[in-house]
Symmetry: C3
């Protein structure tokens, strides 16, 4: 029950961020609903299809679908208010990121995948929705190019979770809580201190 | 047999529209074949993967694959003629839209999904191919941003079909015919009267 | 063992090409890893999901995942050297193309698909990773529009392989070697002689 609540909360935050991007790109209500849904649920859909959890949980269970629809409606009406609390959304988004990378890894391990694939799927769960959102809105996915570290904290959390779940006898929460916490803290530090990912050296184009 | 014929007809119309877009974007024969195939079959592929109908019907059955290939060939040779009847293609496209949103919903209900997920998959069936086509041709999917109502009629038809198939004892055709008709009529009215989807209020960018 | 080695070699070449594109687009290390992985493994993932091989081989087996990660690391450090041998990468890429279109077709036939769907999936295996890479980097997939024949050699190889595997009693290698060779030779000739795919006649935009 706690897990479901956290999951839906993470989806809601991602959906609001996706809906706000749609507003900024001057899309209509269909665009807002589409980007909110894809942002909130897309990562989980990709993961579930790849591990064979078909139909995906976030498709078969109407509560998962209702969250981005409600989020899209709220953004449509109150987007000026949401835009004003943009920094707070970034902080909430960090919690969604930490939660999703660990939950995605756990689900993949439960489906019998080894640590490396499981960690990859944890990262996909956390960042896949945002990548789909960016592709649908005609942008190069922001995680690949600019701004503060985003995928790297998810990789850290997923890697710790994958090793902890696969190679130790520790209980789920003993692994999950520190893994998610590390991802969240690194993400928040990256926002606060402006950390970016390394880029390659001089480029001849 | 009637259903198969209608299905293939809808695919053909979508494939021709996709091929014409490729011509307008000055793509080569590979681009025309790709966009025709993706436009005609993409929505059904996404739906089938998400409901666990694997391999997708439109992949395992060669007749489904042959239709967009033939459509691409016809567009390659006769695209000036097709472009001239563009308005007629819009009307045929409306029939494809109405047919696909209802057929997709029915298939999802048959696979055990509830009304909300089934309606979503009906919409994906109807508009997914067009979204893939737009993404592959480097454009923001047109359903999200401009022009006359497109996704909304599909949502209407899918919602009516989902409730009818899930919550009533009515026979398939008693639900399907009115649901598809409403989607088609609303889409045609939207073209005729220039109806658009609501956009959010003043935006600070 | 030979097959696995060839497979991993093809993935490595595709991954290096994807990583170099990321460098040229000034993406960061996350972008390089993402484009290298998607370029090397994306085509196989799409094929495996569509034929029901879930989880995809290239996800469950850590060796497949390790190859693009290593390739991305090498590109990050030595991209000037790699860029200098660009023509050689094109030649290696032709071998990857020929290998993948035949291997993908064979896998689809083994999963019970008919010749036309199997050939399509062979082509998807060969060009799907590159299409995903182009979409993620904000470009119209290059196979659809410009440069020397790329998808057409893959289609040739896949078509020969599909007929050979489905309709004859010949042993696998008796079909696979000539089919792959033809794809490779046609691709190399296209590079050498500048062959392009036909484009439609005069266009009114």
């Amino acid at each position: 029950m706690l897990l479901l609540t956290l999951d839906l909360l993470g989806i809601a935050v991602f959906a609001v961020a996706g809906g706000l991007l749609a507003v900024r790109q001057r899309l209509d209500i269909v665009g807002i609903v589409t980007l909110a849904t894809v942002s909130g649920l897309g990562g989980g859909w990709i993961r579930d299809v790849l591990i064979g959890q078909i139909p995906p949980t976030a498709l078969a269970d109407w509560r998962y679908l209702a969250v981005p629809l409600v989020a899209a409606g709220l953004v449509f009406v109150w987007h000026p208010q949401f835009s004003r609390v943009d920094p707070m959304i970034n902080v909430l988004d960090a919690f969604g990121l930490g939660l999703f990378c660990v939950a995605g890894t756990l689900k993949a391990v439960d489906h019998g995948l080894g640590p490396l694939p499981a960690a990859l799927l944890g990262v996909v769960t956390a960042v896949g929705g945002g990548m789909l959102r960016d592709v649908l809105s005609g942008r190069v996915p922001s995680i690949m190019s600019k701004g503060q570290l985003y995928a790297v904290p998810a990789m850290l959390g997923a890697a710790i979770a994958a090793v902890g779940f696969s190679a130790t006898d520790l209980s789920t929460s003993v692994v999950a809580v520190p893994a998610a916490t590390i991802a969240i803290v690194v993400r928040l530090l990256a926002i606060w201190r402006g950390w970016t990912a390394p880029t390659p050296g001089s480029v001849r184009s």
